[in-house]
Subunit: 454 residues, 3 copies
Amino acid sequence: MAKNTNIRISLPAVCFVWQIAMIILFGVFVRYNEESDTRWIEHRRRKNISTNLENDFYYRYPSFQDVHVMIFVGFGFLMTFLKRYSFGGVGFNFLIAAFGIQWALLMQGWFHYLDDDGKIKIGVENLINADFCVAGCLIAYGACLGKVSPVQLMVLTLFGVTLFAVEEYIILELLHAKDPGGSMVIHTFGAYYGLTISWVLYRPMLSQSKHLQGSVYHSDVFAMIGTLFLWMYWPSFNSAIADHGDGQHRAVINTYLALAASVLTTFAISSISQKHGKLDMVHIQNATLAGGVAMGTASEFMITPYGSLIVGFCSSIISTFGYIFLTPFMEKTLKIQDTCGIHNLHAMPGVIGGIVGAITAASASESVYGQEGLINTFDFKEGGYQAAGLFVAIAFGLVGGALVGGILKLPIWGDPADANCFDDEVYWEVPEDEDENMLSSHPNMNHARGMPDA
Amino acid sequence: MAKNTNIRISLPAVCFVWQIAMIILFGVFVRYNEESDTRWIEHRRRKNISTNLENDFYYRYPSFQDVHVMIFVGFGFLMTFLKRYSFGGVGFNFLIAAFGIQWALLMQGWFHYLDDDGKIKIGVENLINADFCVAGCLIAYGACLGKVSPVQLMVLTLFGVTLFAVEEYIILELLHAKDPGGSMVIHTFGAYYGLTISWVLYRPMLSQSKHLQGSVYHSDVFAMIGTLFLWMYWPSFNSAIADHGDGQHRAVINTYLALAASVLTTFAISSISQKHGKLDMVHIQNATLAGGVAMGTASEFMITPYGSLIVGFCSSIISTFGYIFLTPFMEKTLKIQDTCGIHNLHAMPGVIGGIVGAITAASASESVYGQEGLINTFDFKEGGYQAAGLFVAIAFGLVGGALVGGILKLPIWGDPADANCFDDEVYWEVPEDEDENMLSSHPNMNHARGMPDA
Amino acid sequence: MAKNTNIRISLPAVCFVWQIAMIILFGVFVRYNEESDTRWIEHRRRKNISTNLENDFYYRYPSFQDVHVMIFVGFGFLMTFLKRYSFGGVGFNFLIAAFGIQWALLMQGWFHYLDDDGKIKIGVENLINADFCVAGCLIAYGACLGKVSPVQLMVLTLFGVTLFAVEEYIILELLHAKDPGGSMVIHTFGAYYGLTISWVLYRPMLSQSKHLQGSVYHSDVFAMIGTLFLWMYWPSFNSAIADHGDGQHRAVINTYLALAASVLTTFAISSISQKHGKLDMVHIQNATLAGGVAMGTASEFMITPYGSLIVGFCSSIISTFGYIFLTPFMEKTLKIQDTCGIHNLHAMPGVIGGIVGAITAASASESVYGQEGLINTFDFKEGGYQAAGLFVAIAFGLVGGALVGGILKLPIWGDPADANCFDDEVYWEVPEDEDENMLSSHPNMNHARGMPDA
């Protein structure tokens, strides 16, 4: 059945209306904070701050830029692996991230940064948090990749950011849980949010676009760009909003080590699981990152270097096995079609990260942290609260995903027919002579062009 | 008509002579400044500077590296979109940028950094300014992409950098205008410089290479690498040489927001302008960056967060419409062949940026900036001088472009015939073509697959 | 002859055993140092350090991330140039680097960072040094690219890191030589280590896989990603562990200038050496980096800006000529098959760097450096020790390479048959249909190739 995928009205309408709404809301609510305002110089004198370097900008900006690259190039290129959905992978990632960061600045601002004068005062830390918030929605996109319209993605992001800000408020502010790298708040929530949406939007006839679900040689190389920038900059991700000084320093070391261990275990499991021991690019592109996800909650803790290696070691074993056994099982039995396998890369490692965080926090002692160190790292001993935070993240993902999935099921969003999934032809002007190139893999390309809407 | 495109003598000659000239001139003029010299430690004590961190290196280096990536990967890959000119796009960008930064260190040095002893004293800020200076020439290259020889590009760069240093001196030193991100000095000048050259070098029979003027699927994905690194690092571009402390901090926030708004409006206009609402990669690759260009002059000002969103919103609408209507019109009517559409990405948003800067400066008040803040941000109230700066930039672009265009029209530079434009075959040893390769490797792959172990 | 390349047992075994060994050894030996430990706050008070910014993290982290990108994206993508070995190029680079950094933290820790309590205390500087150490092995991989199994690469890395730590200890600790960017310690050692291994593993019948030894159009563009990230971030590489303040600042300037000069000379030699003056991507991808290699030892010295230009100028001439004349000669006469031409990019420029360092150190004078500057830069005047260091690096490369080559010659490592070298099919699940995809940009490319000038 050919669906109407013409988004000529709906996409521009959504983009314009929401962008104008952002402008108005920013006009009413958002201002510079005292470190990004010209009055900083007076602030410095008042607070008796000796140097401009004490401006938080110099503590956070390099990490912010690394996180920024992860969001746009990392997530974007990781989703270019499909043979004919690279435009959609990197392009729609670009669109929803650019919208999401604006909405996140407002939502997180209202919950965390509201000043006495009713204004949201922003600085570089807000930009990092906005990128973090958007990451949850990009993870969710991974489950839906190739099966939804850009309009649906804008809706997914609008609600995703909203839900994120609320669960983040509950977990960090009310439960006083720690989650600097967002194993719970970002990865667990984002993954269950996306998986539930994908479950609601289940497509029984998706096999009609089976010929487009694989990769080609060069699209796999493009995806490695995403993988590597995520892998390299993950230490910045887990340390970007950690405490100044030893906090950021330690978070980097822990994440760096966890990721290093992930690579070896991923290669091992990938090889042992294949006939003839050949490596599978899907595993290398994804499971090598599991250690970063799993270190998100405990990154700042005194988990010790070898503890970090163990976290990376275990999470990647589980993640790789997930790609081999769980993904097919989930599609067949649970009716969850998870294009990028986010359950293996974000859900399971995220839950592991939450548990690791809870255990490490519960077992934190003054002998290890030192008296002041213990106070700085934890507001108070909080193993139980950490665990509670994990459940909040899962709950928000499942319930939120069900609601939003229901909304996205409405037949008004211009999503593609089962036969046209994973195909850039539906939403993009694809250069002509390449489809001839692709002809072999594309009996349906012409069909796509012959569709009522195309 | 087949032209002689053999550059075996001319290109090496130019590269050698100019590189040796650089070595001699650096020997005569260029030295380390007190922050990069071993005497820094004495300087520190004299100036009573408490820590090595006060060395400007630590304020500027992370931003410098981001700018450096924009120049070589950003501009370079943005120009790989043509189906058979990716080598020339990224390769010649590499060549002229590497020459340009050397010449820029000298030219800018003579105008801005000449010490009492007649030496140019350089530090990290000079490296940033050299990258900025080169950006103007890379923008100009965008208009000529695929139609000029590398020798012509070296000439374009030699004069481009020279002109840049002079107009920059007039605008910043004589007119005391502010332009930290170079909306006027870099983008407006560079764009009109390149467009005028392209107009002088008009090729009536260019349609003979029409079959090579498009992109292919993967070349569009390569171009997205350029787009994203430009987009992500633009906040560093507009803040790299801004004032320490709140200046850099605010420039980052303003640019980040303008760019975010640009993405939504670009997607909206791109979709609404196409039959069936399909998105055009040309727009996504370029117009999403207009906000960064337009925020170059006012980046440091108290333009407010929503003001930044408005700047990005408007500049991308104009930029995208430019690609749809203006580029074809300019080619047909004005005889300006603008390969990358720099008029839409740099000229118009650059002018907008200049105007925005003038208005913001004119309306700057002590109530908003604070007494000291006003003094720090502006040497004095300068709306009119800002506007004057814009005209200087345009004038230098037009006049300089006409002169250099005339020089480049001489039949001695080895430029390609109309039928051979946009073709790497002319200046590069291109690997025996892809398909034969793939074919030849084909049997052997089967063989590989048929091997006992495989 | 078809060999057994099934690594389904050996690769997972090696990965698991070594990763578990790492976990145990880290558990016994590795701890946080006082700057990454929660007791940092107490340390700060004791040492009377005024701000968290004095934590070495803020001096080193941005440079570390740049180096990290060079190791994984730079080296990785530089090795994607082969038409059918991109997975192996970037993938195996990823595997051995991730293992190598763990082993390097231990080996370098035992030699340099062992605390009184018998523990290795790590911080960000250790992470940088681990990346440096691994670089030596990745250089060696370049000589063997496409001809060895991942298991052999793991062995190459295990011994390579071990040898590196010892020679580094001798050169830096015993000889008190300076080598912040590793011209000797990293590049010279790594190159001769790899070349000797490649010589021991000489394959007389390698021509059987000749059809896979070239690049294709897009694989050359992928390789440019590696080239550019190496080129752009090399100033960070040579300054990452330089002295705080002017040391890092000067190292950046010197490297930046040397690299700029390298580009022009590489283009010149490449063009002049080819019939019709066409440029060769192999030269552009590699020889443009020679200046960074050659500036590794003297990066911190007062070599002067024009001195840096001269270093880049000369090293790239030699490097490019190496690709043109030496590589074929070495393969034919010396029986050394150097896939990536590391002899031209790392061995010769590395030796040049060592010599430049020795001369600059020998001629260092108080008049140039200032009294304190001279003491800070050199522990003592050390021209002769620098030269000695160079010989140590070469000796370790040759002897170590011979030993390890002998081990790798054993018929147990699953290396490919001569006919299957440079083919991802051997160790990777390669997507089926790429060649068919490519079938049809063919006609138009023929047309392009049929043009008078090509």
